[in-house]
Amino acid sequence: MTNTAAGLNWQRTSPIAVVFFLMRTVRTIGVNGLPAIAVVLALYAKSDDSNQHLFILGLLVLTIMSVIGSALAWLRFRFCIIDERVLLRSGVLHREELSVEFDRIQNISIREPIYMRPFDLALLSIDTAGSSKKEIVLAGIRKNVAISLRETILSKTRVKDESDEARENNQADPSVLLSRSGKEIAIYGLTVNFIMWFLIAIGALFGAHDMTENIIVWLTKNSWIKDLISMAQSDSNAISNGLIIIGLGLVMLLLLPLISVIGALFRHYGYRLSVEGETYRKTSGLLSRHDESIKRHKIQALVLKQNFIARWFNRTNMHLRMASAGSGAQQGQLPSRPGSTFLVPALFPEELAALISEFLPTCELDKVEFSSINLRRFASIFLGFFVLPPTLLVTSIFAILVSWKFIIILPLAIAIAWSVLYRIWQKTGYATVGQYGFVRQGFIGTRITIFPLFKAQRVDFRQTPGQRRRSLAHLTIHLASHSLKIPYMPATDANAFRDLLLYRVESSNQPWY
């Protein structure tokens, strides 16, 4: 290992990076310890004044430890660029050394968080492919260093493959493909994560009654809310308390989309997508500027998402998916990190069509006719195994113990389940046209994944004896970015899809990464 020899020009980042490490620590604690934090908050709300000092002391100790830890993390963090590789040393307790070749880099982004802007510093994130590697973040390097580093890395990733034409284009000015106004970003904010914030609001209304109570207890300590509640309690009965809870739930229901919109504005305000040669670059952000780059050949799949709010606005959100460590088979659709997807928000149909053929040349989504999966088998398996037994059990218990009228629930439940399954069946589809494969999924919204067939990594074909008799099969296509499962396909189609996919993979000598 000559890399580790002394004499390499190991560099430190700016001390401002301590803030970055601190924020990362806080976020890790926040994400991993959310239930614990909720418990502590509830305890804090319930404890009397003398005990509250202990909580504050604990918080203080935790803060000081985090600050010291972050400072140590910054001290230990060093990087070095040599021989078309990025070398990295980091870790306080668990020390780590990492080496990443430029060629393996999937996507580079530069961010300027608000606390770094006054110092002209930036944050360079490098996303790599591979089984054990992870995202590298150089926090707190000079902005011009970050930009020149990005240029160096991008120019050295597989220059040999670029045709002369592409290289010529490289020298041309970057042309803007798309820009989004604040209004459009707000629409994106409304359309994204709708289901999630809806569920949170529902949960706040019905599920977490105890927590609501604790929150209210805690809120009563704040003076203005105290006034509000005492006002409400002047009627002093259970109904007004109930009204407060419902009111808070409604406020949350209205607040969550607002938070979503504000979040989207912070992250994507001033969205601009430009192309330079075959490198796409997007810049956005209200306070922190985000600057991300990706090369066309690094795109593993396009995911087009449209939920019902988006359809109402006639918009589609597009995600470019890249190869990513640890986001494969088991985890399904969700990327493990935001780093492995590249967003193009709130597109009108014509913009969508133009961008699809930009990212995936010769791909024509409008010519695609999706084939359906087998409705009878799909619905009967789900109804028979997952819906009928539990509803039958529950209704028969109620019918025997309480009243025979509970039998009515049974056909009702089955009818609802059937309509849900029918809807999912309607949405599920697959197709191949030319070089590309298409998979459509969804329930309320629609999600279409388009991928170059030759970029597939592996294909699984699965059959139960019942499916063998009926000539049906499940087909799972594993991409480097995520996996797609098509259930209850006609076996002939599944075989044809698989054969075509393998033919494309095996006959192509284009690199997939």
């Binding site: 591979g130 460590a325 990594q457 592996r458 699965r462 594993h478 480097a480 075509l500 993979v505 095996e506």
Partner: protein, 170 residues
Amino acid sequence: MAFINPQLEIERLPVADEIVMEPMDEAYRREVQTQQIIIWLPLLLASFVPFLLAQIYFLLVIPVIALVLAALVSRLVVKMAAVKGIALRTHDIAYQSGFHWRKTVILAFNRVQHVEVSSGPLQRKFGLATLKFFTAGGSSVDLKVDGLKRERAEQIRAHVLNKSNSTDFA
């Protein structure tokens, strides 16, 4: 390079459904049987303990149940071992497994990132090895093939690595 996009004749593509799977080595069956004995024998012996301690004949039900369970489970495990099959084609490797849910995984050589051959103590006794293939994207093993003779596993590994390099983006 000019862009060409010839039309494919779907019917003339190689058909993966027609692959003839080669069963696993005979030693694998014996290994699985031995493994089952190692797992179940102590449990069966232990199931007699309540009877021996209490001397109540009713407690003999426990070893009977254990025996039935052992017979059923080990029969299934042995059957599952028997249906496993592997096939090498020019450009890919196919692996079939699953007694009830039959699954066929096909992995193209030019998508293999690395290959691992490993063997446990029992496998070594029978001269067997496990072959693991890794591709991009997934953080876990993408294809795990049990029950190959050690030499055959090494052969396949060499073959696959050779292929994955030769078809590599010249």
